[in-house]
């Protein structure tokens, strides 16, 4: 794309700038996040990001066709479709005249090109609308000037500007003039009742490429002269490379060389730098360079390596013991405290305490980790699937001691993210390899590489205690024992904070050699189940319907003056009521058992009713009804897809996800020993949205946390015994055997 900067108009106070395209047409650059509300902060702390001017663009060609460069990475959450819809709405252009392209990373010009925390739509909402509306106003102003009339007497709709005489000009007719006029300030936005694109189904913009198998993903990318690299990492966490013999590997047809990498990452870490929250491994790694993928995979298998460790390697039993010891001990950080929990417990009629256990979980993006790098004297070109391209560029620049302006990152569509691609370890490997061999190279992982050298959802245990006095919940104490890191700062202010007078959240962790990190709905992916399962028990103890108990508690947080409280009592109440109504709560047919759960996370309120039936002695989830308050639903078809996926993902991992270690080595290596939910095990998920005109919030994660609780509570109804450990299948299989014998 070539641009002529001479026609530049720039308003410092504004977030938007225009320039004429040499090829004809108008380019509008805008900043997606400076136009946001001041409190809209990224959900994760990414240090050292270069915040600069622009991060998204609209191109209007002189034939009136519009290209919207979608700035955020697409991992399956649908933003490549939904974000441009918001611009198109305010720009007033028909959706079928819009082409959507993935914008490359430009470290000079883009801000927060990140997929994480279900924040893309929430944080982009204001800026995307203002950009569309402002651009439309500029086109109107240009047309008015051409006609010699007041702009206020002109209107625009469907890419056509009309004046009072009924004369018309298309957007394409005035793009040249629009590029030269001042950017108007304070342009009015549409009312939700005027929307024609927002709220209507728009099919995934990449649908045809996906269904016909066009190259889209990182693994599909290739270029002339590109080599393939397979990286042999330590088989156990806590090990480093001692020695290796590559003689057999070098005999494999297609293997070009066997090298080691590690010193660049080591020097990066030695300088005191770190990769965000995950600990970078500083061991040397053996890399097989080959002419094709198969040779790289075979070559890696043929390496004979010896690994060493200077301490005992962790097994699952050990990690369990450590976490249990934390819960039994008294060393905790207090994350929130209201009233006096100790007194409430001392004065209670009854105290209920339960402990919930979860395993580590791998992400298992179906597209294994991979990245392309071409390091030359001129520049460092990185191409592939990563959720944090900007951060990856900064680390690579530092590692290779290159100027940040030498780094170019292009994003591909991603075969799933789930948090795994927030971490750029594979990008650094690709960069280090290409830097060493001075050739374009693609690092490829096998499923075994991915599953056994991951950055996992850490094993976590929650111990929850509540005091009951005169039929009321008077105290609540949540303790978290986690591997490596504890819940992020907002979570202690989720439900039931604000609903119970004496309330405390305490956390502690154990630092492990196993690398851990964000996994779809971090912490709440398990906490949602633990807490919602616990409330089911509390309701029973109090002799109340579980829905009724939640509604009663929520009354206490309505209109709270406590600014730390994250969720809304009113919105949660409406969401719960909708789920109960649509899910026919309490009206299950004979042989059908219902469970209820409601959870707020990632700014969205979700409530779910799960139904189970018995098949072959095992409970099978047959239906889930979800109610969601995410504000305005931008793209209903995409929104429903996200919730369905989140619910099924939540059920799948609660039921089957199991991952364990022996002497630092993961025991589950591929889908034959790690069970993911499959179609014949999935219930139908019905999704309903609470209707309101509030600003939209994210959907990639919030459907997941309540799902495990809804299922556990339904299973309890059937069995009359509670599930305290994930995966549920372990206990269910044991019960099945009991029933038979």
């Amino acid at each position: 794309m070539s641009t002529q900067e001479n026609n530049l108009t720039f308003s410092r106070r504004n977030f938007l700038r225009t320039s004429a395209l040499a090829s004809g047409g108008l380019l509008v650059g805008f900043n997606l996040f400076t136009a946001c509300k001041p409190e809209a902060k990224p959900p994760v702390d990414i240090a050292n990001l270069n915040f600069n001017d622009f991060n998204a663009f609209i191109k209007i060609a002189d034939n009136g066709y519009v290209t919207i460069f979608s700035p955020n990475p697409e991992i399956g959450q649908g933003v490549k479709t939904s974000m441009p819809m918001i611009i198109a709405e305010e720009l007033d252009i028909e959706w079928d005249k819009v082409t959507v392209a993935q914008a490359p990373l430009d470290t000079k010009n883009y801000v927060r090109q990140l997929a994480g925390g279900s924040q893309s739509i929430r944080q982009g909402w204001d800026a995307l609308r203002q950009t569309g509306a402002t651009t439309k106003q500029m086109l109107i102003n240009a047309a008015a000037a051409k006609w010699g009339v007041e702009a206020s007497t002109c209107k625009a709709s469907k890419a056509v500007i009309t004046n009072e005489k009924g004369e018309t000009l298309g957007y394409g007719d005035v793009v040249k003039e629009a590029a030269t006029i001042d950017v108007p300030e304070n342009v009015a936005l549409k009312k939700p009742s005027e929307y024609t694109i927002i709220g209507k189904d728009a099919v995934n913009v990449d649908i045809n490429k996906i269904t016909t198998g066009k190259p889209l993903f990182g693994l599909d990318y290739k270029e002339e002269g590109m080599l393939y690299a397979s990286v042999l990492r330590p088989p156990a966490f806590g090990q480093t490379l001692e020695s290796f013999d590559a003689s057999e590997a070098k005999k494999v047809n297609g293997v070009i060389d066997v090298i080691t990498i590690g010193d660049k990452v080591r020097s990066f870490v030695d300088k005191g730098k770190s990769n965000w929250t995950f600990k970078l491994s500083t061991t040397d790694k053996v890399v097989v360079i080959a002419q094709n993928t198969w040779a790289a995979i075979k070559g890696k298998k043929a390496i004979k390596a010896t690994w060493k460790s200077d301490k005992e390697l962790e097994s699952t039993e050990y990690q369990e013991k450590v976490l249990n010891n934390i819960l039994d001990g008294d060393k905790f950080d207090v994350r929130r405290e209201d009233g006096n929990v100790k007194n409430a417990f001392a004065q209670a009629d009854k105290v209920i305490e339960r402990t919930y256990h979860s395993p580590f979980l791998p992400h298992n993006c179906l597209e294994p980790m991979n990245f392309f790098a071409n390091v030359t004297d001129e520049k460092v070109h990185l191409i592939g699937p990563v959720q944090t391209p900007e951060f990856a560029a900064i680390v690579v620049a530092d590692m290779l001691e290159r100027d940040i302006n030498d780094i170019q990152v292009d994003m591909t569509r991603m075969g799933g993210g789930f948090g795994r691609r927030l971490y750029g370890d594979f990008v650094y490997e690709a960069a280090e390899i290409s830097d060493k061999i001075k050739k374009p190279v693609k690092v490829i992982s096998t499923r075994e590489d991915d599953m056994t050298t991951g950055i996992y959802r850490p094993a976590i245990k929650y111990r929850i205690a509540a005091s009951i006095k005169d039929g009321e919940i008077t105290g609540y104490h949540l303790k978290e024992a986690a591997i490596n890191d504890n819940m992020y700062g907002l979570i202690p202010h989720f439900f039931p904070a604000g609903c119970i007078p004496n309330f405390k959240v305490s956390t502690q962790n154990y630092k492990s050699d196993v690398t851990t990190g964000a996994w779809r709905a971090p912490y709440t992916n398990f906490l949602g189940y633990a807490e919602q399962s616990f409330f089911d028990e509390l309701a029973e103890e109090l002799g109340k319907d579980p829905v009724q108990l939640r509604l009663e508690l929520l009354q206490k947080v309505k209109g709270t003056a406590d600014k730390r409280i994250q969720y809304s009592g009113e919105r949660m109440e409406n969401t719960i009521k909708l789920a109960a109504e649509k899910g026919n709560w309490g009206k299950a047919k004979e042989g059908v058992y219902q469970g209820f759960s409601a959870y707020y996370s990632h700014n969205t309120h979700v409530a779910e009713v799960a139904e189970i039936e018995f098949k072959d002695g095992l409970p099978v989830v047959t239906k889930v009804v979800a109610a969601v308050d995410c504000g305005i639903v931008v793209n209903p078809t995409g929104a429903i897809n996200q919730i369905q996926g989140g619910v099924l993902d939540g059920i799948g991992h609660a039921m089957y996800g199991n991952f364990s270690f022996e002497n630092g080595k993961p025991l589950n290596k591929n889908f034959d020993t790690y069970r993911l939910i499959r179609m014949n095990e999935t219930p139908q998920v019905e999704v309903h949205f609470v209707e309101n005109e509030l600003s939209p919030t994210g959907l990639g994660e919030p459907g997941l946390p309540p799902a495990g609780g809804a299922v556990a509570n339904a299973i309890y109804k059937a069995y009359n015994s509670r599930l305290y450990s994930q995966p549920f299948i372990k206990e269910l299989e044991a019960k099945k055997t009991e029933v038979k014998s």
């Binding site: 099919v203 990449d206 996906i210 016909t212 047809n253 995979i297 294994p368 569509r413």
Partner: protein, 153 residues
């Protein structure tokens, strides 16, 4: 390295490769047919599904030396213009999330519908259970297969 003659999507191609190379990597690395995906390498996920004489087959487990005169069809050759009833149904139902597994899902479904043009819901669920969708777009895959079956009958 030995040379193999293959018939892929109606065209005859000659490739040189080690005899143990899975068809998957021949397609992806040698023939630039990257619609067939790598997911697990052990026939557990179905992302690499192609048709061998019309039968859904995991290409990650099919060594090139075992292919004789069989006709191989990949997602790129399923229809001329991307308008196989399944591809149309996938668009109408707006199935994909990340999209990575979908070519494999469509290939499994295409072979299944040829054998069973009027499947019940339960038959669809069982037939498709070998294909993983990590995003869990299963409800919509199920719906799209049923829709395609209606179109084809």
């Amino acid at each position: 390295m030995p040379t193999y003659n293959l018939k892929i999507n109606g065209e005859l191609v000659t490739v040189t490769a080690d005899s143990d190379t899975p068809l998957l990597w021949i397609l992806r690395d040698k023939l630039n047919l990257v619609g067939t995906k790598f997911g697990c390498g052990i026939a557990q996920c179905g992302a690499c599904t192609v048709h061998v004489d019309g039968v859904a087959t995991r290409s990650c487990q099919l060594q090139i030396s075992l292919i004789d005169k069989e006709e191989i069809t990949t997602i790129e050759g399923l229809s001329k213009d991307g308008n196989h009833p399944l591809q149309e149904a996938w668009e109408e139902v707006d199935v994909p999330q990340c999209g990575y597994c979908q070519a494999g899902q469509i290939m499994t479904a295409a072979s299944f519908l040829k054998e069973n043009p009027n499947p019940t819901t339960q038959e669809i669920r069982e037939a498709m259970h070998g294909n993983l969708c990590r995003c869990a777009s299963y409800n919509r895959i199920e719906k799209a297969v049923a829709k395609a079956a209606t179109k084809m009958s």
